[in-house]
């Protein structure tokens, strides 16, 4: 899928009136196209090719990919660096920023640097606690929270100044996102918290894994009643559980993941649990698409990233379109080799 003013890969689009960024994701969402994003597994490596290899497996199936920021409180290549590498060749990365590891000085500096390197989308997160990762002795920072982070970056963009008031010569033109978890307590507060995030600057939302669609529908109805659905693009989080055991592990070890027993029982009853997991994921995508206010899906398939292309294809959500991806060989900025 290409736009008429398609830039040289690595350069941003001209910013349309009413848009915040020159990014592909904002364009797609504002055109009303059902968007597909996925989570990239950042490498434990200092080799750029490791990033490109992980990005290439999504080619032609997703519109944007999230670069996680120390996901699960484990160290990997930084989201700023992963995004900068991806931008060089024209991909549309969503830079995740977690408040756990950096204070306001470091985060604002990263935002400026990322925008300078062409990053157009930033997802503002609180971040998992350090106890969740493999380095629980690390010092948790949490100087900002996801909401004050949203407001900070929006202020940088709209008023061209830092939190201190100091003027910026050029503001970061970024499309701002936030996460939401409709499945955890306090359930009644979650739609209000979404309203707070929108008020703080959130323009798109990527949700936690949606396995319990009844709960999700209740959340969306409440969000609609609060008038939120016209103000934000909601991308529902999905992922294929690898097996019943993996699903059990996820819900007890990954903070905030809720998987109903019915899903686990269905996996247990299947001959090929992995195939059943993918089938569940495809069905969820198709059902989520029918829910009012869902503008796209965000696929998180940790260690199953290779299955994402087939899941997207079989779900039919692309309606025959092919999302943009770098044309190999013709792009002078492309550093990777042609190995697939």
């Amino acid at each position: 899928m290409k736009f008429e003013d398609e830039p040289v890969p690595g350069q941003p689009f001209p910013i349309r009136p009413g848009h915040s960024s020159g990014g592909r994701l904002e364009r797609i969402l504002r055109e009303g196209v059902f968007a597909v994003t996925a989570e990239l597994d950042p490498p434990d490596s200092a080799d750029a090719e490791d990033v490109y290899r992980r990005a290439r497996i999504f080619d032609g199936f997703i519109d944007a990919m999230n670069a996680t920021d120390g996901a699960g409180a484990n160290c990997h290549m930084s989201s700023v660096a992963v995004c900068a590498l991806l931008r060089r060749v024209g991909y549309a990365p969503v830079m995740q920023v977690a408040c756990r590891d950096k204070n306001r000085i470091a985060i604002q500096g990263d935002v400026l640097g990322a925008a300078a390197m062409g990053v157009c989308n930033i997802l503002c997160l609180t971040g998992d606690g350090v106890q969740a990762g493999d380095d629980p002795g690390a010092k948790p920072v949490f100087d900002l929270d996801s909401l004050s982070l949203l407001e900070t970056i929006r202020t940088m963009r709209e008023e061209s100044r830092l939190l201190t008031g100091r003027k910026l010569d050029s503001p970061p033109r970024v499309f701002l996102g936030a996460a939401t978890n409709p499945f955890t307590e306090p359930l009644e507060f979650q739609p209000i918290r979404l309203a707070k995030k929108i008020a703080a600057g959130a323009q798109f939302i990527q949700t936690q894994y949606c396995f319990d669609l009844d709960k999700f529908r209740i959340f969306m109805t409440r969000a609609r009643d609060l008038g939120l659905l016209e103000q934000v693009f909601i991308l529902a989080g999905v992922g294929p559980p690898a097996s019943a055991r993996a699903a059990r592990w996820m819900r007890s070890h990954i903070p905030g993941v809720t998987i109903p027993d019915s899903i686990i029982h269905r996996l247990e009853g299947a001959g090929d649990q992995q195939a059943e997991g993918r089938k569940i994921c495809i069905e969820l995508i198709q059902q989520l698409r029918e829910i009012e206010g869902v503008s796209g899906v965000h696929i998180m398939a940790y260690r199953q990233e290779k299955s994402i292309a087939a899941i997207v294809r079989d779900s039919g959500v692309l309606d025959g379109r092919t999302p943009w991806y770098p044309e190999r060989g013709r792009n002078p900025g492309y550093l990777g080799q042609e190995t697939d």
Partner: protein, 152 residues
């Protein structure tokens, strides 16, 4: 004092009223405190605050008290010190992601806020805390804000 902290949330409406009356009293006392000098009062008032609010709220002395916007549940007891609502990691039953034996501060805050006369206060967007104020009196700061910056 977890038990007292939970009592405070269950009696958020009463404490809200007491706090409002106390704030009016403090503002009336403003001119007197001004004469004594806030710097001279800082240490004793902060100590008094630490003891009283410590008892009822497990106060962490952030210096920017927002209890009336958080259902009388102190957000600085959240291991991530979140001041705008819960993180996405709350465990089943409303328990904390980081300290699984503790109920989420924001689950408590939501329950407390619904008992209060101003339940909408929880919707206010809170700014990041000023780390310089840690350990200082938030009562004196409120008096300064309400009298010096906006004289009656």
């Amino acid at each position: 004092m977890l038990r007292l902290r939970l009592w405070s949330v269950r009696h958020a409406r009463l404490l809200e009223a007491i706090y409002e009356a106390f704030e009016r009293f403090l503002i009336k006392l403003g001119p007197l405190l001004e004469r004594i000098g806030h710097e001279r009062l800082e240490k004793p008032v902060a100590a008094l605050e630490r003891i009283s609010k410590g008892l009822f709220f497990d106060c962490q002395m952030c210096g920017e008290c927002i209890l009336s916007s958080t259902g009388m549940s102190c957000p600085m007891n959240c291991p991530k010190t979140l001041r705008n609502g819960p993180c996405g990691g709350v465990r089943p039953g409303g328990f904390c992601e980081v300290k699984p034996e503790m109920r989420c501060v924001w689950v408590e805050a939501w329950e407390g806020s619904r008992l209060m006369r101003k339940p909408e206060a929880i919707r206010a967007l809170q700014k990041p805390v000023d780390a310089r104020l840690k350990g200082r009196s938030s009562w004196l700061r409120v008096i300064r804000e309400k009298t010096r910056d906006n004289p009656p």
